[in-house]
């Protein structure tokens, strides 16, 4: 529970913390797209260097980022192995039936691995340096065009901000129930798979019960305070686009040009 880094905000005062959340969100999504444009080791290294720089700029220790990768490492390795085992071409080192280990496969495996890791690193940079509430504002701003199609984006971003808002509460509550059941003699993380799954029940049910209760209370409070869906509303926090935000967009362009050039080597 304490290991979950993705989606956490670390208060700080770095250059990245001060960027407009819209700029950061667009840049992060763009960067992930850019990853699929990279075609050789050199361009991957170029992007990786950029990722490292972002991580350094965020002022958060590298080990924190590694913790973010840890929970997903098996998923990543699985994808990498599938890549390696099912890709042919180049020098073939070993083959059996449809499975083979080839130099192409190894290279693609390496690409897959770095892509995953960089996606996690960059999105972690985004969430570590952006308040969740700012992030939802950014999402709201970016979804605005959909309003022309008659889709209620305000509801969507409200839903998002409420769920983000309650993640810390949910974590606190999980910790409490965890402690309470431990005090009643449960030893978590022991025994075989079925046993472990059974132990989750006394944890999940109280959490569901309290979440449902809270959701209902929340809905009541919103209604009492006169919230109505589908109304046009203004925002208390106004996002401001600054020169450094434009600069960050320019940097993204430069990054793209770098990738295109390096792809030719």
């Amino acid at each position: 529970m304490n290991k979950l880094i993705l989606g956490r905000y670390f208060p700080g005062n770095s250059y990245l913390h001060h960027l407009d959340p819209r700029a950061k969100l667009v840049a992060a999504i763009y960067f992930i797209g850019l990853l699929f444009l990279a075609e050789n080791v050199l361009s991957y290294l170029w992007l990786f260097a950029f990722t490292m720089m972002l991580m350094w700029m965020s002022g958060v220790s590298f080990s924190t980022y590694l913790k973010g990768v840890k929970p997903l490492i098996w998923l990543i390795l699985m994808a990498v192995f599938l890549r390696i085992l099912f890709t042919g071409g180049g020098t073939i080192y070993y083959s059996k039936g449809p499975l083979m280990i080839s130099s192409f496969g190894l290279l693609l495996g390496f690409y897959t691995f770095s892509r995953f890791v960089m996606i996690i690193f960059v999105s972690t940079v985004l969430t570590l340096t952006t308040k969740p509430i700012d992030l939802t504002d950014a999402i709201d701003a970016l979804l605005k065009p959909l309003r022309l199609l008659g889709i209620s984006t305000a509801d969507f971003s409200l839903m998002l901000s409420i769920s983000l808002r309650f993640i810390p509460n949910l974590l606190d509550e999980t910790q409490k129930v965890l402690d309470a059941q431990r005090a009643r003699g449960v030893v978590f993380g022991e025994g075989h798979l079925i046993e472990q799954m059974k132990k989750i029940v006394p944890l999940i049910i109280p959490l569901f019960a309290s979440s449902l209760k809270r959701a209902e209370e929340m809905a009541d409070v919103m209604e009492v305070r006169g919230y109505q869906s589908g109304q046009k509303r203004s925002s208390f926090r106004q996002l401001k686009w600054k020169a450094c935000d434009t600069l960050s967009m320019v940097i993204m362009c430069a990054l793209t040009i770098g990738v295109i050039i390096l792809n030719h080597f």
Partner: protein, 285 residues
């Protein structure tokens, strides 16, 4: 069962944020069979102190002794299991931990985890239900269908069913109506008197401290700044204001009577019965 803290320091970790020394060099000796009130402001380290006793939090330095069980920086699993069996812990709003389909299954959860056999489980479920003053009719009902006060008692029964020697409670009366709160506290007092359970209770209500407890432990910024018998603590009630605490109603009343009548009663009364007796004895009534 006596509890001993020897130069204990502890950190608290929630998510990525680590708070250093929430318990800062605490050495305390809590005698067997006492009923201790743990008082202090939010963030003073009261809950952490309770968790240390139960092994839910491990000290960064120092030693905690519960009976003959010793807990240190990295306690062994057996020690933890032993101490959790001996120490029953009731968290704030314990009804939030209820999960089973029936009240019976929920109360039996603790004893089953601690390896009671079926006969012992049945017996302890009945006994603890009796102790908290609920009838056995509700055994087959869902805990979620009960009222708040009943849920709290079921949760308490779930802890009592493990037959602990030490009971630690974090504001057991919070959020209950006065009558429900009184019932819970009197029940705990009875367990303390009859079964000689050592009880530690976090509370903010000085009336409860005066009425139920025999020792007071005040915490501030992770340190224990006062640990003495309740009566002698209230005897020097001038110091209460130093700690930023309110006077219990009874003592306030006594003070008012003394001022209005220009008398001085020989001792501080902790319950209203005591005050009445004192006044009769001193022939002021």
């Amino acid at each position: 069962m006596q509890i001993k803290f020897e130069e204990v320091k502890a950190d608290y970790q929630l998510g990525p944020i680590r708070t250093r020394n929430v318990i800062d060099d605490v050495s305390v000796h809590i005698e067997s069979g006492t009923f201790t009130a743990v008082i202090g402001q939010t963030g003073a380290g009261k809950s952490s102190l309770l968790k240390l006793i139960n092994g839910l939090l491990s000290p960064s330095t120092g030693l905690i002794q519960v009976g003959d069980i010793q807990l240190t920086r990295a306690p062994e699993k057996e020690q933890l299991n032993k101490v959790r069996k001996r120490v029953g812990m009731v968290f704030q709003f314990p009804e939030n931990q209820l999960f089973a389909e029936t009240v019976e299954a929920d109360i039996a959860f603790g004893p089953r985890n601690f390896g009671f056999d079926q006969e012992q489980i049945n017996r302890s479920v009945k006994e603890s239900l009796d102790q908290v003053g609920l009838s056995s009719d509700i055994l087959n009902r869902s805990p979620f269908s009960l009222s708040g006060g009943q849920q709290r008692r079921v949760a308490l029964a779930g802890v009592l069913a493990t037959k602990p020697d030490v009971l630690v409670l974090d504001e057991p009366g919070a959020g209950l109506d006065p009558e429900g709160k009184k019932q819970i506290l009197s029940l705990i007092k009875q367990l303390n008197m009859k079964e000689h359970m050592t009880v530690l209770i976090v509370t903010h209500d000085m009336n409860d401290v005066a009425e139920y407890t025999d020792h007071v432990l005040i915490m501030e910024q992770g340190k224990v700044i006062c640990h003495q018998a309740t009566r002698s603590f209230f005897n020097q009630y001038q110091q209460l204001t130093d700690f930023g605490l309110d006077l219990p109603d009874v003592i306030y009343l006594q003070q008012q009577i003394e001022q209005k009548k220009g008398i001085k009663l020989p001792k501080v009364s902790l319950t209203k019965e005591e005050l009445i007796d004192l006044l009769i004895e001193e022939q002021h009534l």
